[in-house]
Structure formats: structure tokens, C-alpha cells
Subunit: 624 residues, 2 copies
Amino acid sequence: MELVDAVLGRPLATTEQHGQKIGPFAGVPVLGLDGLASAAYGPEAALAVLIPVGVAGLAYMWPIIGAILLLLAALYFSYRQTIEAYPNGGGSYTVARQNLGTNLGLLAAASLLLDYILNVAVAISAGIAALVSAVPLLYPYMLWLCLGTLLVITLVNLRGIRESSLAFGVPTYLFVLTLLGVVAVGLYRTLVNGGHAAPVVAPPAVPAAVTSASIWLLLRSFASGCTAMTGVEAVSNGVPLFSKPTVQNAQRTLTLIVVILALLLGGVATLSHGYYIAAMDEEKPGYQSVLSQLIAAVAGRGIVYHVTIGSVIAVLMLSANTSFADFPRLCRLLAEDGFLPAAFANLGRRLVYSIGISILAIISALILIGFGGITDRLIPLFAVGAFSAFTLSQAGMVMHWHRSSVRKHRLTKITVNAIGAITTGLALLIIIAAKFIEGAWVTLIIVPGMVAIFKVVGRHYRRMAREVADSEPLKTGKVRPLAVIVPIDGWNKVTERALRFALDISSDITAVHVTSKSDDKRLRKRWCEMVEEPARAAKYEPPRLEIIQSPYRQLFQPILDFVDKIKQEKPGRLIAVVVPEVVQPRWWEYLLHNHRAMGLKAALFLKGDERTVVINTPWYMRDV
Amino acid sequence: MELVDAVLGRPLATTEQHGQKIGPFAGVPVLGLDGLASAAYGPEAALAVLIPVGVAGLAYMWPIIGAILLLLAALYFSYRQTIEAYPNGGGSYTVARQNLGTNLGLLAAASLLLDYILNVAVAISAGIAALVSAVPLLYPYMLWLCLGTLLVITLVNLRGIRESSLAFGVPTYLFVLTLLGVVAVGLYRTLVNGGHAAPVVAPPAVPAAVTSASIWLLLRSFASGCTAMTGVEAVSNGVPLFSKPTVQNAQRTLTLIVVILALLLGGVATLSHGYYIAAMDEEKPGYQSVLSQLIAAVAGRGIVYHVTIGSVIAVLMLSANTSFADFPRLCRLLAEDGFLPAAFANLGRRLVYSIGISILAIISALILIGFGGITDRLIPLFAVGAFSAFTLSQAGMVMHWHRSSVRKHRLTKITVNAIGAITTGLALLIIIAAKFIEGAWVTLIIVPGMVAIFKVVGRHYRRMAREVADSEPLKTGKVRPLAVIVPIDGWNKVTERALRFALDISSDITAVHVTSKSDDKRLRKRWCEMVEEPARAAKYEPPRLEIIQSPYRQLFQPILDFVDKIKQEKPGRLIAVVVPEVVQPRWWEYLLHNHRAMGLKAALFLKGDERTVVINTPWYMRDV
């Protein structure tokens, strides 16, 4: 257990929960990395769609990013309201379920879960791809680097919320400060020079246009840029993580995240136009990301460049962390409502939902392995889940205010959330339309499939709760004499122990011996000497011996048949099957045995009924 | 079960065993394929070593094959005697163990087991390699073809001994007849033409010599040719497979195999010289095996060629079958002596040792997969095991006659086996020396490792038998009142069933509820109403309720601690822990539960002692 303690930290008592709460500055690394990292790839994604229109595309950047910023503003005000209204965690699932019904709630939950899973795989592989393009030497180890990063993030999260905010805080704020600094310097130079500054290191020339811009192209660019907004809902989901005043701290965290994100997005959009920086084709040699060109143009390729790019790479990888904070939390809510196994709601040794963390890590690892560490093809699936959840959550909030009895500012609140719902809904339609063929259709299969599973699981737990529930008191009829059956393989100490226990609880005992021979005279003789005589001498009803021939060398079936026979012969009696078993002192010694006792227990258990009870009398082999 | 019946055949009763016995002609495909297939690769292996000496090498073929034939003759007479002396199966293990002691017996067993395993992998991949070189189209599927062949051979063997002799008899006798025919025609033509006949299709010219022959080269050639003898011991191991008269039938089978093998080896040696056929470098394009050149030289490339080559390929693959007949049989002997788990001695549904067959198939599959279906590198390991076993078995026979009280022909018998022991021992030394660097050293690690495992296993079983053995009669002290502990998770039907059963067997009952809270007032109240009052009303001692706080959210440890506490408080009493458990009607429903009951049973079982008994009261959920 010492190794476990060293890796995961000592167990935390349930009462230590308050010590694990966080404030707004710690909240950004825990819940904001997904959102902030978007600044690194959102503009790039939007610009990549515009490659075919050449330099003209740069002029469209501000309208597109402007639309995205408006959407972000709508989301910001909507989610502020959600946080206030749901101080116990107002994730899309909770809001949609309470206001729009279980089905739409589960739809929001499934969308988000899928989104969280994809985010882990995509974030890590994007970060590693950036790392590998900076250090090409690492190329052959890409998958291993991805899995190693996943392992580190998983372990840090298993150590608890505080640990993850401490571990990930440094790269987060380094990223924010360096990138904001670069953007500020760049903007200053651009403004001073009347809109177009001379770059320190000139970006590659923008390739010539091969087509002119169409509305469809601009919509697709907008849809791609919208990936920059995934992760904004994270804070509303994680409100209970914050220290008091909980709601205010959560709102401050959301404000911090959205303001930084907006500054970065606006800055990158302005500077890409100011320095003539376009996206490059990733598949062609000499590829450089938009951010890399931009930083080089503003700061040259010195120490500032390397520190900034390093922090971008780190944040890309760590943005997987947001999923690790919210996925287990959402699973827990689903488990508490009976749509997932109850284990998802168990607090682990460090007061986090360890099962959810582990499941997320396993699924992400499988995806990374399945795609060999390169997850570009998953990106189109990505924004659909987030925007479905946004829309459902905002629509739910509209219903919430509509039903609410509080009259103050009611219309404003409805309006804010309605604008959020309508804008994100429109964005969702654009995203689905623009990315349907590229893979968004897969989401439309997986998400309903997940909803169906939740419903089947929910039905099972409800049925189980109904059947198990008991409002009747203990039934205390007359004590029923037990009929005891003891399967034995001969006369030895293990058998002796089982028989002695049987004598303790009943006077109606039958030992059963299954053999491929037609009889076993030697055993009968020993039985007579070793069991019947001493039992009679001590005035016990002597245990009977039944020898059953099994011509096809089966073992369990003859015993099960015998139990059935006794059940019919003795209606109304409880049947206890006493299974003798040897406990080995060392694990490998289990490999050397037939596990007959274990198999028999399982067979009796599965094929039994209310009238059978299985008793296991372990016999312990000495450890020498 | 119907699918199983279709694939493996209906179960056979133990009494049907006599119907599974075989005669000498059926014995050849079952036990002789390994030996006979050697005729296809033994001469080739010897010639391959002689490539550097060019045409001169062909002149050495007869001396080398002659030496091998003498060795074969020595082995033949030795094993005839072994069969007679050990009519219940005189494998090297039995003979060496009885006459030379357990250690040398286990050494022989380990050598043979390794040899059998290698034979499966090497035979199948050699056969498939021959098939692929005939039909190059199949090249990409080599591994799958290997695994498919392995699967077919495994299934046929699981269907029983008779089935495998029927299935493999046709290709075996086709191989014998066509190849003997080709050899006979070739010899006739060679004799008629004074030693060198004109080939129908001329073999490729023998490459020029690059060195002259040395003693070392000839010894290496001999060592390689000795692979032709692996499999000769198979019959002595499988004597009980034969119908009556068992010994005579086994000896006839051995005679058949050795005579055919000798004719083929001698014929190939003569003809390779007569037609100037040398081995070719397998890695160079245009490679043809010695047999292929020889058949083409004698019969041209018509229908005879294709039928003969086809049967050679089939026999190469099927020679894996000998391992399937003897490996499980040897494992059974080891299991009966307690050196392997007892399951190896269980007769399966078709009266074969199914576990041994399956284990052999799994290990061989892993080897084939590990080496990608190309096992050339395993060949040097191959003959070491067989010749170790030969030597030990023959030496054991010398001791056997030495100790025997029968005086008749005693000296002759000792002489025959001594010659066998000395010649095979010499051959073993040559093989190890010649192939040490190529890989034979691996054998010298694996085989002693296996012996060590056998001894550890043997010690475990002996210790267990000693500890478990009981020559004392049943102890029948006064009935000790049971102290019953029932871990519960609340008041429901599952708990109710467990408590009712507890009331049936004891009046000292404590229910234990583990919670992370400091108390559970609601449960205490329900307990009072639902359990204590009705129990008192029915004049029972009311079961107590114990609520245990678990600050670190553990479940099992507090219960185990409580059991220990009760044990100390009530010395001399038996403690029965009644574990309530829900049985789900569908398998997937098990995935939805925490398996707390299962885990608790396991923890109680492993951490318990002689004074604890685990009782499982299953509660069956209705299947709706």
C-alpha cells in the first residue's frame, strides 16, 4: 500500500472535503484549460477553411471571429445566470432534465460525455503533435508520448482537485501571460504603424486565391472556429468545487476564462490580418501553425518565442484536464439518478470520483491507440456535442425562469437565456450542416445510442429498487429444520470440517460423492468407521452418504440434480449446501487447483432458488 | 450445446473407452507422422550443411545417412524392448523415473514436452512454407494459414483418437505410397544405368565447391540429419492407445514406421547421389527442396509430381499430430504423479485429455504468432529435447534389465539398450556442440526451468495431501452455539431473507451496517419497527444492529475488523457471516452492480480462519 500512497497520496477522510475546495484563480487551470486552449486552435481552424480564398480570407477573419465573440458573450451571460440558479452544479444535464424532462436531459448528458471523451483524445494528441513538430526527433514515439501524458493527467487527477490545480496552474498562467503579452505588443505596433506592422520574422507568403469567398465557405469557417467555445460550460458543471462564496467564485472564474479567451481570440484575429498571417496546409512540408507564425512575427525566434510556444504546447495537452474535472462529476450525477452503476457516485481515497476518472482514462487510451495517436479525424465530431449541450441547457434555463415564481428581472433573464439558446442552436445547425459528411453524422448515432443505454440501465435500477424494497417487517414463522447437503471428494480434514459445521446446524445431513465408477466401496467403508459410528456414539443422527455415478464425468450437474431431488422430497424445507474449500496461502497455488469448489458455488448460486442457501466452510492450509 | 456437439461430437461415456482403441495401420497416422515427415526434411537438412563442398558433398551422403540409419536401428530394437517391458506406456519419463530416479525422469519429461511443443510450431510452419512456395499467391496469409491448420488439428484431436486416425490416414498413406513409388522407380533406373540415371527434368547444377569437407562439417551434417529421428519414441509413449494384443500392435506400428522411414531415407540418399541433387539456398530465388528436385528428376513435372508433392506438404503439416497424441498423455502422467495440476489427468467429453490438447494448441499458437508463422530459428532447439529423452530412456532400460529378476536373454537386452543409450548419447553431444550457438543453448535454460517448476508443483501437492489427510474420525463435541454476523446495506427483501435464515440457525445475531456518516437514525428506527419488535413478539432473541462509521469510505475492512472483534469477545464460538446477495436474471445486469457481496465473500474467505464460515443467501430477482 505504500506505493499507492506515494503515487496517489494518503487517503482523505470524508470530513476533509472542505480542504479540497478551490478559489477562482485555482479554478482556471481546473475548469478553464479546455476553453483557453481553444484560443490556440479556434482561429487556426477558421483560417484553415479560408485557405482557398488567399489574402482575401484574412479580411473575413474579423467578421467571423466577431460572430464567435458575440456567441461567447451570449453564452457568458447565460451561464452566469445558470450558475446563480444552480449553485449545486448546473450542468446541461441537470438544467435540461429538470426543465425539459428526462429524455432531453439524458440527450444533453450523452452529448457532453462524448464531448469530454473526445476532448481528452484530441487535446492530448494535438499537444503532442505540436511538440513533435517542434522536436521532430520524437516522431516515432508519438503514441507513447500521448499515453504517457494521459497517464500523468490521470494520476494527478486521482490525487484530487487541489493537486491538479497546483500542478497545472504554472503552465496555465505562463500561457496566459506570454500570449497576452505577445498580442499586446503586436497590437501596439500595428496601431502605431497604421494597421500593418513590419514583422520581426516574416510569415510565409499567403498563397494565391483559387476561388472567391462564398456564404457557404464563411459559414464553414465559422463552424470550424466554434470549436473555440467548447469548454465554456465546464464552470457551471463544477460549481460545488468552489470554496465559499461558491456562486461568486464560480462566476468570477467564468469571467476570467471568458475575458482572457475573448482577448486572445480578438487579438489573434486582428494580428493575423495586420501581419498577413494565413493558415498553412498541415500536410505540406514546412507547415507552421498560425500562432507560431504570429509569435515569430511579433517577437522573433528568440527566447520569448520558445517560452510562449512551450506554454501553448503544455496548455494544449493539459486542456484534457477539464474533461477529467467534469466527466466524473457528470457520471456521478447520472449514477445518483440511477442511469449509470452506483460505483460512479463513490468518492475515492482522495475524495474524487475515481471510477469516472479511470473510465475516462481507459476510453481515451483506447481511442488514442485505435487512431495511433493522430486524432484529426475526430475533430469534426467534436463541436456537435458541446453545442447540443449548450442549446439544451439554455433552452432549459428559459423554461426555468418561465416557471419560476421570482418576478424580479424575470424578463431580462428569459431574454438572456433565450438569446443564448437561439444563437447556440443556430450555430449547432451550421456545425452539423458544415461537418455532416466529415464525420458529424457519427455523433448522431453514438449519442442516441448512449441515451438508449442510460434508459435501459435506469429501468433496471428502478425495477430492482421496486422488487427489493420491503415495507413489511421480518417474518418469523416457526424455525424450519434445514436439510443439509455436503458435496465431498473423499474423507479428509476439509470434509471433516464441513461435516462438523453441518452437525452444528442440522440433524438432516446428506454427503454426496460424485464418481465415474459405479460405486466406491472403500469410501463407504471409511464413512461407516469415520462418520457414522462416532456420530451414533455421540447420539447424533448419522450423516448419510450418497454415491452418484456420473458416466460422462460431469461434476456439477449430478450435484445440482441431487439438490433438486431433495427439494422435491422435502417440500417447504430450506436446503443448505455446505461446500468445503481449501484456502491456499499463496496466490500461485490457486493456479494448481481445479476450482471445483468455486465453480460449484457459482453453479449453485446461479441455478438455485429462494429455498437454497450456499455455505462455504473454508479450510486453511498452513503457510510453510 | 448443440454447436459444441456438432464440432466436437457427442460426449462419450467412460465405459466406451474400448471403442477408441486403434490397430497398427491406424497407429501410423496417429503416432508415426512426426517420424515419417522427417524423411522429407532430414536428408535436406544434412545436405544443406554440405552446400559449401559442392558435388563432393553428395558422395558423403551415404556415410552420413548410413550413420543415421544405424542409429535408427539401435533405437528401433531398444524401443521394441521398452514397449514390451512397459505395456502401460513406457515413455522416456516413465522409464527414466522408475529406473534413474525422479530428477532424471522429470528431465526426460521436460525435454520431451519442449520437443512436442516445438514440433507443432515447426511442422505446421514448414508445411505452410512448402504450400506457399508452391502457391505464392497465399504468401500474405501465411500466419493465418498456420493458425487455421493448428485449429483444425486441435479440433480433430479434441474429437478423439479414432477420429484423428481416420482423418489423417488418407494423406499419410498417400504420402507413403507415392514417395516409395518414386524412390523405387528412381532406384530401378539408377541400377539399370550403372549408378547414374538421366533425369526426366534435370535438377539445377550443383554449385562449385568453396571449401573442402572437414570432420566438423560432416559432424554438423550428421547432427542436422538427426532431426529425421525425432518422433521415434512416440509409439512407446502411446502403447495404451492400441487394441489387443496391445504390445504386439504397438511393436508392429513401430516396425511399420521405422521400415518406411529407413526406406525413404536410404532411397533419398542414393538418388540424390545418383541424380546429382544437392540442397539449394532457401533464401535465394528459384529455391527448390531436395524432394521436389528428386521427384521431378524421376517422374517429371506431371500429375505424379503434383500428387506426391501435395501429400508431402500435407504430411509435413499433419506431423504436428504426433505431438497432439503424446503431449497430453505425458502431461497426464505428470499430473497423476502430482507434478502438474490434476486437471491434466481429466478425461474430456471425447475421452481424450482435453486440457493438455488445449494447452498445447495455445502455446503453439503463441509461438506461431510470436514468430510470424516462420519458425526456422526454432529448428536448432528441436533435436536436443528428443535426443535427451532417447538417451535417458535407453539408460533407464539398461538399469531396468540390470535390476530385473528375469534371467532369460538378459545380457542381450542390456546390450541392445546400452548400444541405444551410447549411440543416442553421442549423437546428443554432437547435436549440442554443433548447434549450441545457433540456439541449442536456449534448451539448456528452458528444460531445467521446467524441471524446477515440476518440483515446486510436486512439493505443493505433497504438502497439501499431507495436511489434508485425515485418519481421525469425525469430532463430535457439544454443539457450539453459532455467533452470526449479517452485513446489511439497509432494510429490504434481500436483508430480510438473510436475517430469516440467520434466525433459523442461531439466536445470537448481529447485523452490521457500514456508513460514512456518524450514525444512521433512520435505519435504527426502521430496525426497531421492522426487526426487533416482530422478533420479540415471536419470542426470539432480537437481532442487534451495529452501525459502524467508516471515515475513509472503506467497506470490507470495517466488517473484517468487526468479525475479529466478535471472535475475541466470544472465544471458542464459530462465527458465521451471512452475506445477502442479489442474483440477476441476465448476465449484463451483473455489470451494473458493485459486486460488494462477491468482494466481501472473497475478503472473508481469504482473511478468515478456521473459526469463520461464510453463508451466502441468494435473493433471486424475477426475470421480467
